[in-house]
């Protein structure tokens, strides 16, 4: 709309599309390994959750104890199996999706439906096998990323929000423009915006470490080796619940992340995470 005015004001140069180096090789490789791990850990995790689809708080929790969340199956009036998602005392009918869903064409008790689990049929042992293999890969990959991030200055340079990005005025501006799906252009697009930085830091330094630590807390062997883990999360069942809650937040992050990738240019974003090159509009004179 006002590009003509700006051009006139700048006078010197035409806006020009240039490819900048956006992501280092380490970031790109660890990102895609993480994508693979996340998909498999999530789906095999839902398989494991289905073996006892209830969440408790504290050290213990089983059938007779109070659970704050449950994916249950009940007999309806006609004798048909109905799925119920219970949060505290609130019961929500979720037949076909949560609590009870189709297995071989018949509605059966099932926490998460077969399409969401790995493997697709009920097999806790197989789910655990996939989960722990990819948990190791995820931890090794994440460790490599953290070492690189600190040593190569990636966190300091790219992820730590700059002072000017953290002013309430700037943050409000970013929220308002994000809500209208308008993203930084030109020089401002060279760096991550503040919301991006905060989201990535939250995932890399809070949610993913919480996933690993709560996962380890569920292991009776690890609890004997590192008793402080149990204290940190207030019990094994609390850790199991937090593992589930953090996983839910990660799914939420991935949904928003993918929506932003689409909204801000699918091709450009994908290319930058595969080849490292990201296109921005610049007015710099040719050098």
């Amino acid at each position: 709309m006002d590009s003509g005015d700006r051009k006139a004001a700048d006078g010197a140069t035409q806006p020009r599309r240039v490819l900048v180096r956006r992501h280092s090789g380490t970031v790109r490789v660890t990102h895609w390994v993480n994508v693979l791990c996340f998909g498999i850990l999530l789906m095999s995790g839902l398989q494991i959750f289905n073996a006892h689809p209830e969440l408790y708080w504290g050290h213990y929790g089983a059938d007779a104890d109070w659970s704050f969340l449950a994916l249950e199956a009940k007999r309806g009036e006609g004798g048909a199996i109905e799925g119920v998602t219970r949060i505290g005392a609130l019961e929500i009918p979720t037949t076909g999706v949560l609590g009870a869903s189709k297995v071989n064409g018949e509605i059966r008790p099932r926490g998460f439906p077969n399409v969401a689990t790995l493997p697709g049929f009920r097999d806790l042992a197989e789910g655990r096998r996939w989960h722990f293999f990819f948990a190791w890969l995820f931890v090794i990959n994440g460790f490599a990323y953290l070492v690189y991030g600190f040593l190569a200055g990636h966190f300091r340079r790219d992820l730590a929000p700059s002072r000017d990005q953290l002013t309430p005025r700037h943050l409000w501006h970013e929220i308002a423009t994000h809500a209208r799906l308008r993203f930084p252009k030109g020089e401002e697009a060279r760096r991550y915006n503040a919301l991006q930085k905060l989201a990535y830091c939250g995932v890399a330094f809070v949610l993913l470490p919480v996933m690993v630590l709560t996962g380890l807390t569920m292991s009776p062997g690890m609890d004997a080796a590192l008793p402080w883990l149990v204290d940190l999360f207030g019990g094994r069942q609390s850790a199991r619940s937090l593992h589930f809650i953090a996983a839910t937040l990660l799914v939420l992050f991935v949904v928003i992340h993918l929506a932003m990738v689409f909204a801000s240019g699918l091709f450009n974003n994908l290319r930058s995470m595969i080849t490292g090159r990201y296109a921005i509009e610049t007015r710099e004179p040719k050098s």
């Binding site: 498999i40 073996a51 209830e54 213990y60 096998r129 293999f133 292991s219 062997g221 004997a224």
Partner: protein
Amino acid sequence: MTIRIDRRRLLTGAGVTAAAAALSACAPLSASDGIRSVLDMAEQLTMRAQRLLLSGDALAREFTEADLSPVFKSNGTHNPDDEAYQRLAEGGFADWRLQVDGMVERPLSLSLADLRAMPARTQITRHDCVEGWSAIGKWTGVPLALVLKAAGLRPGARYVVFHCADEYEKTLDGSGRYYESIDLVDAFHPQTILAYGMNGRDLPIAHGAPLRLRVERQLGYKQAKYLMRLEIVDSFARFYRGKGGFWEDRGYEWYAGI
């Protein structure tokens, strides 16, 4: 230039295909032994890592009476329908004997009274089922180490195999009988006990009367109930399907520390 883009496309394409294949086709793939053996490497890695961290006999947490689960869930077999077992139960297990044999210097046949006469250990611990639930119970019994020392292990002994009275899965060849095995690291751990008491009373039938194993740093399926015989061996490959336990034979990890 063209070549570079093509190669780049090829690599991208290959990466996407591999990821898609991994995500969508794992179920059929998982049946293949190749994938299984790769995934099984994680179990070895987990066991080695935990054994490294657990050197020095780290103890599982012990709780207080106030922490006990109001109801301790009974899982697996609740009452073995084996005729011989039922006769023993009717007699209050007065005729029950624990056989200890295999690679030992002195095979033993121990009555409940013999076990109760040995030094006892009581511990309040958390039981973690592989399904995800936990319950806290108080267990009283004989440290397995004392029984093994009384029998005297012969050179080459590596595992204790626990033979149980319950047939958890009905099969024609009897391969559905419950059994478990642990190695000597866990067998000699101070919290590994043969429990005859639970929550201050005799061990109930639902929880494995007259005697069950407690191996506190592993999951619930290792805590074999209805013990009849301990067999000391150098390998468990010859038992049933060869994986060292009822659930292990059905795909679960032999090392159940996670």
